[in-house]
Amino acid sequence: MTIDRRTILQAGAGALALGLAPQGAFAQAEAFRIGALNPVTGAGSPYGSGMAAMILAAVEEVNAAGGAGGRQLQVFADDTQTNPQSAVLAAKKLIEVNKVNAILGTWSSGVSLAVIPLVNDANILLMHTSGAPALSVPPANAKGHGYRFQATNDRFGRAFAEIAVKEGFKRPATMAFNNASGIGNTQGFKRAWEAKGNQVVAEVVYEPNQPSYRAELQRVMAARPDVIVMGSFLPDTTIILREAFQTGANVRWIIPGWAANPQLVTALGNEPTEGIISVDSVSNEQAASFARYDEAYRRKMSQPGASNVYAAMTYDMVIALALAIEAAGPGAGTAQINAKIREVSNPGGEKVFTFADGKAALKAGRKINYEGASSVLDFDEFGDVTPDFGVFFITRGKLERRYVVKI
């Protein structure tokens, strides 16, 4: 038999038609549109581009596994400028022009609180990494469409109180950076601590970007506390601890993990940081999902994944959302997808670490529990993640995890 041009063309056309067939099936179902609304510029800029990149990476992963619920995911990105006024305009554009079905990755509380009324009006979902407790409850979260991938500051505060009891502290004082996050930490601590019948000996709220915090430190030390509970960030914590060390303040510290980290030890050295108690939500660094995230982050940003906790959260947002879309089935609307988010991420099902595994398990009719890269990713009735807290002690410049606190 001779192979002529016509046979080849026919064979080629046949192969092409076969190759196109599955894509034809996708083309029928409209893509699920995701708005990536991240703090690319402004105060959140150290995290924003990584967050945006990880949304894209996770979407690539989902689409490579054949999409979710028979739909491909499509991303439309915009910048909040870490400013609520710019953020609402960006959100409105994503909602009305790009017709997104969900907005992912707003970072500061002010921005999330400004965007969430628009999200409620448009009846879509918002997944954010903000700490403000106000985002859990009405009016902000009146419809239950908001999901928080970062532990609330209040929850951190409650963990601090548990630790203070366990370590036998009697006279705690608090110092808070003046924003929703900082004050949320120390107020959460105060409430939980006083509920146990104790008292806080001094409370100070300080303004950011000061060259020195000596005055604030003196006010706190005048009350002779045995421990200072901080709601702080890295730059201010560095200055406060240096000045406390210089003045010979004899006091212990409980500090959130984003402020008391290896960079703090590098900045101050071993002696001033000795004995600091650093508290962080137990990130899932041992989980397979973290390894996948880490690999993607290194590939896109040329940095280790652990350097940007918020990027791990945006990565999880896409995977959890895609699994919920898959569980809700083809053509599901916001309400059906919203109803599935807890079902695919909370305990009670088979633990899965990737979208592909979760999709396969769902196809086989099994229940699943997605274990994220940022945390085990279980949501309470307010849509807040409920991580456990790792308690680290800094000894000779190393962070050692001693125990885990459950709230």
Binding site: V40, S49, L89, K92, A114, P133, A180, V205
Partner: protein, 299 residues
């Protein structure tokens, strides 16, 4: 797309009001007010707190304007001896003061959490789409009203006196004009308009926080007014809308430029905004609708 345009035009109207406010005090009276965001914030909080306590929304807007007048008089009093750059620095500080007060007086403003759920007038009756249209109409009517009023003022002997003060304060005083009173009045009226703009914004968004009182908005309004034409109310209105629409248009750059990273798109937008300002200042240093100076009558 349509409802996005409605949204953008509403915010554009609020920018136009701010530009009108700035034009009165800077364009006409020559007092540089870098504290625009502060007055905007005072109005937003005044109305949010008043309506939160049960006052009707229109009443809240009135209170916002009155709060603007009060704060405007106070700032003028505190800066009487300052001119030009020094006035600019102090007014910039004033805006920062408003932000810090809003951040720290938690009993009044609920601090960094901001005020959520600010009453949106008629939203329950009209639904989301209807409310947006209704609010666009309200804001546009207020812009037209204020514009008309300020254009009348501009053409009147009062407006000419303000411009005389702008050009040479001593000469105006020498001609028998009570310079001080004019300054108080102009600043208070301008502050009232900015505060009203803030109140309109707060009730439109139903959320306001200290983060909203950033100097960025002041800078945008200065940009818009410079582009539109300093010293002419029509220029202020055109500039207010133009700056918002231009900034929004750059948002679509991301859609036509695929393959750029998020941070590159953000940088590109900023380049576009900066370049547009440079080009405009080069081609039209007086703005698109420059101030008109009536010729002196022949003797």
């Amino acid at each position: 797309m349509l409802s996005y345009l409605i949204f953008a035009l509403t915010i554009g109207g609020i920018y136009a009001l701010l530009a009108l406010s700035l034009n009165l005090v800077w364009g006409s009276a020559g007092m540089v007010n870098l504290g625009l965001a502060g007055f905007f914030g005072v109005g937003a909080y005044a109305s949010a707190i008043a309506t939160g306590a049960g006052a009707p929304v229109v009443f809240g807007w009135g209170i916002a304007a009155l709060a603007g007048v009060a704060v405007g008089l106070l700032v003028t009093f505190a800066t009487l001896r300052l001119r030009d750059d020094y006035l600019a620095i102090v007014t910039l500080g004033f805006a920062e003061m408003v932000r810090l007060v809003a951040l720290n007086e938690r009993w009044l403003t609920s601090g960094a959490d901001g005020i959520s759920g600010i009453a949106a007038p008629m939203k329950a009756e009209l639904g989301t789409g209807g409310f947006n249209l209704f609010y666009l109409a309200v804001v546009s009517l207020i812009v037209l009203g204020v514009w008309w009023m300020l254009a009348r003022l501009d053409a009147s002997p009062y407006g000419r006196t303000l411009k005389a003060i702008r050009e040479d304060q001593e000469l105006a005083r020498f001609a028998g004009k009570p310079v001080l009173r004019f300054k108080y009045e102009a600043f208070a009226l301008s502050a009232a308009i900015a505060a009203l703009a803030g109140a309109l914004y707060a009730h439109f968004q139903s959320y306001f926080s200290p983060d909203h009182i950033q100097p960025l908005i002041t800078i945008y309004i200065f940009l818009g007014l410079t582009a539109g034409g300093v010293g002419r109310p029509a220029g202020a209105v055109a500039g207010g809308y133009a700056v918002l629409l231009f900034i929004e248009a750059t948002r679509f750059a991301a859609d036509v430029l695929p393959g750029l990273k998020a941070v590159e798109v953000a940088a590109f937008r900023e380049i576009l905004i900066g370049a547009a300002l440079l080009i405009m200042l080069h081609l039209k240093p007086q703005g698109f609708l420059p101030e008109t100076m009536p010729k002196a009558p022949k003797p």
